[in-house]
């Protein structure tokens, strides 16, 4: 089966005799999460009653915001976008504060990219920048980047790969890079500057980047994975980083891939980009960009699908969601469900519902569900019908 625990979408998971094989701790946690129960004002009800109550709330909403969507299949995301359009609502996902900006750089073709399979078969320098895949995407390094012996890289990490990490602190991935490559501890802008200086033959604040450049020149395929650390380190201005990638490509081939995120965040970004020209945070009533964090301040109703903002976002959002009419559509128990008016449980993507998802590198993956149960698309269609 396909694991939908993160954007690696591991396709080699086996479930046998109640045991899950090959999935990482994060994947198993996602696949085994405690199921939510349908409820209205925290009282258990039937799923039909919950659907009816949600329909009424969404129909009566004057100012709706739809949020989440990164863990559900593209087919359900499409329906959610349709619902947002029908209600002149705001729609946003986690990418507006996660790696959406990096996906945008790729969709707008501002940086060269590649697939993870190409990385596995060809890449020599693997540079994780502001990313610690060991914790955020546990199998990233063993499946796609540093450890596999595949294609032109048969001699594995010992000889055919070079691991580099840029981070503000010593991470698990950085610890591995200290052994098999190079770890640069520093501020992102300083490190970018040091790369430029090194290319001119000068020493910047981090002269050790020259060693990474030298390794890049040895190969015809290298990759930089950008994580949340880099995204926030650049403070919203990506021009210098884009310039660096251009400049690096004058000396060797260097592609860029966002490190990773929720299972189908990229799918949502791509659908939104096609439909609106924006990758996320879009207001169908004004045609302008507005994030969930802003929109929720003015909304009277929130439809939260496949996400737990009370857990992952600042507390003012939790307080606001508790004040307004909040409907939660999610497979597992969540903190947002605890403050919601209506909770509608759906099945886990890839387990009880199928469809497609888009991996962090843009590859479309068909899910392989093995149970039949309530899908997110069905729930959103039922809301669309009422509206």
């Amino acid at each position: 089966m396909i694991c939908t625990g993160c954007s690696c979408l591991c396709d080699d998971i086996v479930i046998r005799d109640g045991k899950i094989f090959h999935a990482c701790r994060k994947g198993v946690k996602h696949l085994r999460a405690e199921k939510a129960t349908p409820s209205i004002n925290s009282k258990p009800v039937s799923i039909e009653e919950a659907l009816k109550a949600a329909g009424k709330i969404v129909k009566n909403a004057n100012n709706l915001v739809i949020f989440g969507l990164d863990t559900i299949p593209c087919e359900a995301q499409e329906k959610a976008i349709e619902l947002a359009e029908a209600k002149n609502a705001v729609i946003d996902d986690c990418s507006s504060f996660c790696l959406g900006d990096f996906v945008e750089l790729i969709l707008k073709k501002k940086v060269p990219t590649a697939t993870l399979d190409e990385v596995r078969d060809k890449a020599y320098v693997i540079l994780y920048w502001g990313s610690n895949p060991h914790q955020s995407l546990p199998r990233h390094m063993s499946r796609f980047t540093y450890y596999p012996r595949s294609g032109k890289r048969q001699r594995g990490y010992e000889e055919d790969r070079y691991l580099a990490v840029v981070d503000v602190r010593m991470s698990e991935t950085a610890k591995l890079a200290k052994k098999g490559g190079r770890f640069v501890m520093g501020n992102d802008l300083d490190v970018i500057d040091s790369f430029f200086k090194a290319m001119e033959g000068k020493a910047g604040k981090h002269p050790e980047v020259a060693a990474i450049l030298k390794e890049m020149q040895k190969a015809d395929f290298n990759v930089i994975f950008g994580g949340l650390g880099l995204r926030y380190g650049l403070k919203g201005d990506y021009s210098r980083f884009v310039e660096l990638i251009e400049k690096l490509n004058e000396i060797s081939r260097v592609v860029f891939i966002p490190a990773g995120f929720h299972a189908n965040m990229r799918g949502f970004n791509e659908l939104m980009f096609k439909k609106t020209g924006f990758i996320n945070a879009y207001d169908f009533s004004s045609g302008e960009r507005i994030t969930f964090g802003e929109a929720v301040k003015h909304a009277d109703t929130a439809l939260v699908i496949g996400s737990d903002p009370v857990k992952s976002l600042p507390p003012y959002i939790a307080a606001r969601l508790a004040e307004i009419n909040t409907v939660v559509v999610n497979p597992s128990q969540s903190l947002t469900a605890r403050i919601a008016k209506v909770v509608i449980p759906t099945s886990i993507s890839g387990v009880g519902q199928g469809g497609t998802m888009v991996r962090s590198d843009g590859l479309t993956v068909e899910l392989e569900p093995f149970e039949e149960s309530v899908s997110d698309a069905e729930v959103i269609i039922s809301l669309l019908e009422v509206v």
Binding site: I20, H22, C24, R139, G156, E172, L176
Partner: protein, 154 residues
């Protein structure tokens, strides 16, 4: 991990040879490699050495947890990244289109496998640290930044 000196200090240090070893020091070494069991030191089981025996039993619990190759897995520290499985030279050789390429291991009885999100020891027969021509391979441990894998000699 206990060292032979720590163990030796708690033994009777009489070199009585009841256990079959020439010296208590050599018996200490063999306790660590699990070639000898504590029960083979008869004098330790007399009231005179009771305090020391209890201390030794505590120390040796760790060793009991170790496998025949000295491999110890701490599941609490494991994130299930599979670095250990994919980097293992034996797995690479036996599973060239599975584990070697980064996928879930496909051989029937691998040394290690990720089960329910954490690494489990499946079968040690294939491990390079096992059997007559054993080597002190530490590849799996070297690629675990969380120290979820250790060896008795560490």
């Amino acid at each position: 991990m206990p060292n032979p000196m720590e163990i030796y200090k708690l033994l009777p240090k009489t070199n009585c040879r009841v256990c079959g070893e020439q010296t208590c020091m050599s018996f200490a070494f063999k306790l660590l490699t699990k070639e000898r069991k504590l029960e083979e030191c008869k004098p330790l089981y007399t009231p005179e050495y009771e305090v020391q025996r209890k201390k030794l039993e505590e120390i040796l619990v760790v060793i009991e947890k170790a496998t025949e190759t000295g491999l110890i897995v701490d599941e609490e520290k494991c994130v299930g990244c599979a670095n250990c499985i994919v980097s293992c030279p034996v797995h690479v050789e036996k599973d060239p289109y599975g584990a070697a390429m980064g996928k879930g291991i496909t051989v029937e009885d691998p040394i290690l496998r990720i089960e329910d999100g954490v690494v489990k020891i499946v079968k040690l027969d294939l491990c390079r640290r096992y059997g007559e021509n054993r080597t002190l391979c530490v590849v799996c441990r070297e690629n675990c930044p969380n120290d979820a894998i250790s060896f008795l000699e560490d």
